[in-house]
């Protein structure tokens, strides 16, 4: 991994009250994964944290400028030069050139940037690229297998589930993950399952129809 360990560096206190903004802005000194999601902490500590320093668990140090990360996107490992504070979304779009996922609200309120990370749907605007290292990242472009659309994509097509289409990659990714977790959902479960995504053209009814149809089709 292209992460430098400097365990003796005194670190700023990392706590639950660190906002995402100040947290990202604080890059150049220290990044703590604990402030975001506990699951990230687990990954970080397993791979990086020295066993002898439990108080420093999950704290890593990055260079402020160009950092080479290896990200596995759509099954392909890519070495990408990123700023330490780059979000996964920006990295996927700008560096990996996969522009299916969109930046809409840039704070996790709309689901437009949804990608799959280790099988779970996440808002890629809320995750740092460095935290995605060593994980399986799948974008909407990666759902196509052997030139064939994923059943969710095919159902979205068949039901004309799009208008302007800007939210659709996010909806497709969330629907794929949702159906993996709940293969036979009721309409109500679909509504709740997709409630983190916004479609301003309001194509919801067609989206529900597509997800229902996909749930009755083949599992990938």
């Amino acid at each position: 991994m292209a992460i430098t360990q400097e365990p003796k560096t005194p670190s700023a206190p990392i706590g639950g009250d660190v906002s995402r903004r100040s947290f990202i802005k604080g890059i150049g000194s220290v990044v703590g994964a604990a402030a975001i999601v506990p699951s990230m902490l687990r990954v970080a500590s397993a791979q990086d944290a020295p066993a002898a320093a439990p108080l420093r668990a999950g704290i890593r140090r990055y260079k402020a400028t160009g950092q080479a990360l290896t990200l596995k996107i759509n099954g392909k490992e890519q070495k990408l030069e990123v700023q330490a504070n780059a979000t996964l979304l920006d990295t996927i779009r700008e560096k990996a050139g996969l522009t299916g996922c969109k930046e809409v609200c840039s704070r996790g309120a709309c689901g437009g940037c949804t990608v799959m990370v280790d099988g779970r749907s996440i808002n890629s605007c809320m995750m740092l690229a460095v935290d995605a290292e060593g994980r399986e990242i799948t974008t909407v472009e990666g759902l196509i297998k052997d030139g064939k659309l994923d059943p969710v994509q095919a159902a979205f097509c068949e039901h004309d589930a799009s208008q302007c289409g800007y939210c659709i990659p996010g909806f497709v990714m969330r629907s794929r993950v949702f159906l993996n977790e709940n293969p036979k959902p009721t309409l109500d479960e679909i509504k709740h399952g997709l409630s983190g995504n916004i479609c301003r053209c309001s194509t919801y009814i067609r989206i529900f129809a597509a997800v229902t149809a996909a749930s009755q089709g083949v599992k990938p």
Binding site: V104, Q163, C201
Partner: protein, 723 residues
């Protein structure tokens, strides 16, 4: 059931296939202007005023210029008049550098008093019945229930007319005097306003999110100092516009200036906050109504006074009033705009109409209630439009109107309400548009129009017009739209794109068909092609049937047909009548409203593609749910700062808010040409929801959004915020 509509009637061009570009959209291959990252890209942004009214007391331009990655900083003015106002511009190597540069400016402000309360600018409430705007301050008019379009010129009502109108209201058996309020709604286009301009010395290529390919290009020519033919503008895909991406583009001008200055491609991409503050909105309104009604349900007339609530930089708060119901003496209406220290107005899906319709339909409901008449019967008695009269019958059956009960006759805390509202949209004139159809020897057909597909399905519409006329499978078609070097066409405003372009697409396709048949006739040594036709991809007639692809082999190079003409029979005006029914539940203990079902009957002229039409109708209904129940631009009363300039506290409707929706494509005139459907279905929905809530709880909620708090307040006896 009506003779105008049958559930199994395809009516349309039999086109039920998904939109042409749906695969591009579900795979992420559709490239929006935000999706291009050219080499040497630079970024530019506006330095914005963070308060409603503020004077800059410190701006360290030199320090900002020295910040790493910053290329250019300029302060243009020191006084901001709304939160989000442009004070200057900055250009830098990256978005991070823009943030750093703005931080290095160390902006400081003297914060002034922001105008956030429209009532402070209005005459006292007791004068509204006799209100007429100061000279030149707004329009007046008369008609069977409302004046002409607000915000435009008109004759001011005389004191005598006003007195007569007031007398008509007070002299009737019953009178309703009420004030209805609507809030400011923002567009929330998911793709922010953005543009990428790449100036290359003697020409430029630009990608932008726009509702008007050609108008946008023309705006770039001036800062680029290039003629229109040297600027190629792309907007093949647009992530929503809803009216806010028409008109002026300060972003395009800035990106052009910086691209010229640094000879590099420059992007301006608004943040979500900027998007909420400064890309326009549907203005708010305060509407005073005083109308009388007789016991038999005849509306007597009276006063309708509308105050539009506009932003700092613009008027245009106009409440769009059109006569929909008969009145014995036409109501005398007046309108005036007030301006707040806040972001300006831009067109938004049926500008002015939902505001007015909410107030008008609530009033109708209250009038019907006052004389104890069923509100559907009341509308059927008074609605002036014969098409809507038919719609009422079909819609009532589909929603189950016969189950409607008064609030007091329902047991338990959850009450069910039914509501109905009417709408319409003017369709005047046909703009210019040109369509080209190319046919190639391998059977491919190319359809070209520079117009933009903003999500409504324009690409599909022109493709369908051609595929249906040629009667070939649409898989042969490549439809290219949204580039300024393609044939000219209108911007997508006022529900005009389909109406304007479709006739030309039909005509070009007819010419192409005649061209191919002519080639076949010549090959077969027929005297002419009059007996030939194309049926399901085969050339038939007095010859052995020939496949489309074989016929195309006769083409030498390519066949090209371009037309700007309006074919005969396609130039008459069309109608956009609509009626919407709503069924919903209100929890009278919590005030929470759950919409259960909407029936939306919509006249669309000649329906072309069922999917795109139904998606637009249901989309408008859902946006209307947001407008009526959730969405609100909330300003800090003292500073004019928008408190919810984001997508988590500005409440767009989401998946769990979606009811069952039955869109009904209505075609009263089989010879009607194609009409557009972007605007009309967004007109009645807020009114229908308001009326249904009134039915459910037995008291009117006269202020939007009709939140749980306002529902409870109405139940608690607090009528409207002003009245």
């Amino acid at each position: 059931m009506s003779e105008f509509w049958r559930p199994d009637d395809r009516m349309a061009l039999e086109n039920d296939h998904p939109r042409y570009d749906v695969t591009e959209k579900v795979t992420g291959r559709a490239k929006y202007s935000t999706d291009y990252y050219p080499d040497k890209l630079i970024w530019a942004a506006f330095i914005r005023c963070p308060y409603g009214v503020a004077k800059v007391t410190n701006a360290d331009v030199e320090a900002a210029k020295k910040a790493p990655g910053v290329l250019d900083v300029q302060m243009d003015k020191m006084d901001g008049v709304y939160c989000g106002d442009h004070l200057g511009t900055i250009c830098a190597e990256s978005r991070q550098a823009i943030e750093d540069g703005i931080a290095a400016l160390k902006l400081a402000f003297d914060i002034g008093e922001a105008k956030t309360d429209p009532l402070k600018q209005l005459p006292p409430r007791e004068q509204w019945a006799n209100f007429t705007p100061p000279t030149g301050g707004g329009p007046a008019g008369r008609g069977g229930g409302g004046g002409r379009r607000g915000g435009r010129g008109g004759r001011a009502a005389s004191p005598e007319e006003i007195a007569a109108a007031n007398a008509a209201a007070t002299g009737a058996d019953h009178m309703i005097e009420a004030v209805y309020e609507t809030q400011v709604q923002t567009h929330c286009c998911l793709e922010p306003h953005n543009v990428l301009v790449d100036y290359r010395g003697d020409h430029a290529i630009a990608w932008g999110s726009s509702q008007g390919t050609f108008a946008y290009r023309d705006q770039l020519t001036r800062p680029l100092n290039l003629s229109a033919d040297k600027v190629e503008f792309h907007c093949e895909y647009i992530g929503g516009g809803f009216g806010s991406k028409l008109g002026q583009t300060p972003e395009g001008v800035l990106a052009s200036q910086m691209s010229v200055k640094f000879n590099r491609p420059c992007r301006v991409l608004l943040t979500r906050k900027e998007e909420q503050l400064d890309t326009g909105n549907r203005p708010g309104s305060i509407q005073y109504m005083k109308i009388g009604v007789s016991k038999d349900g005849t509306i007597a007339g009276g006063r309708m006074v509308a105050f539009g609530i506009a932003g700092a930089m613009s008027g245009g708060g106009g409440v769009r009033a059109v006569p929909r119901y008969k009145m014995t003496t036409p109501a005398v209406s007046s309108a005036m705009d007030v301006t707040l220290s806040a972001g300006g107005v831009r067109p938004m899906r049926a500008p002015g109409a939902p505001q007015y319709t909410y107030a008008y339909e609530m009033l109708m409901e209250e009038l019907a209630q006052s004389i104890g008449m069923d509100s559907l019967e009341f509308r059927q008695k008074n609605d002036v439009d014969p098409v809507r009269q038919e719609m009422y019958k079909v819609g009532a059956e589909l929603i189950g109107w016969k189950d409607r009960k008064a609030s007091k006759d329902q047991k338990g805390p959850i009450k069910t309400g039914f509501g109905v509202a009417a709408g319409d949209w003017g369709n005047g004139g046909f703009g210019n548009a040109t369509v080209t159809v190319n046919i190639y020897p391998d059977g491919r057909v190319e359809v070209l129009s520079g117009c933009q597909d903003i999500g409504q399905g324009f690409r599909t519409l022109v493709g369908d017009c051609v595929a249906t006329t040629l009667d070939i499978p649409y898989t042969y078609l490549a439809v290219k739209v949204g580039v300024s070097n393609l044939p000219n066409g209108p911007g997508s405003g006022g529900s005009s794109t389909s109406r304007t372009v479709a006739p030309r697409a039909f005509l070009a396709a007819q010419q192409a068909r005649d061209g191919i048949l002519g080639l076949v006739a010549k090959e077969m040594k027929l005297p002419d092609a009059s007996k030939l036709k194309i049926e399901k991809g085969m050339i038939t007639g007095d010859i052995k049937p020939m496949a489309w692809t074989d016929a195309c082999k006769l083409i030498n190079g390519q066949l090209t047909y371009t037309t700007s003409d309006l074919p005969e029979g396609m130039g008459q005006n069309t109608q956009s009548q609509c009626v919407q029914f709503v069924k919903l539940n209100v929890d009278t203990e919590t005030g929470v409203v759950r919409v259960e079902k909407i029936v939306a009957l919509q006249e669309v002229g000649k329906p072309v593609n069922r999917n795109t039409i139904e998606n637009q109708i249901t989309g408008a209904c859902i946006e209307g749910i947001g407008y009526a129940l959730f969405e609100d631009r909330i300003l800090n009363a003292a500073t004019g700062v928008m408190n919810n300039a984001n997508l988590e506290m500005y409440k767009c409707p989401g998946a769990v808010d979606i009811p069952e929706i039955v869109p009904v494509i209505w075609r009263s005139d089989p010879n009607s040409p194609v009409n557009a459907v972007g605007e009309p279905p967004s007109v009645p929905i807020a009114g229908a929801l308001g009326c249904a809530i009134y039915n459910a709880i037995g008291v009117p909620v006269r202020k939007m959004p009709m939140t749980p708090r306002r529902v409870l307040a109405a139940l608690g006896g607090e009528k409207g915020a002003v009245a």
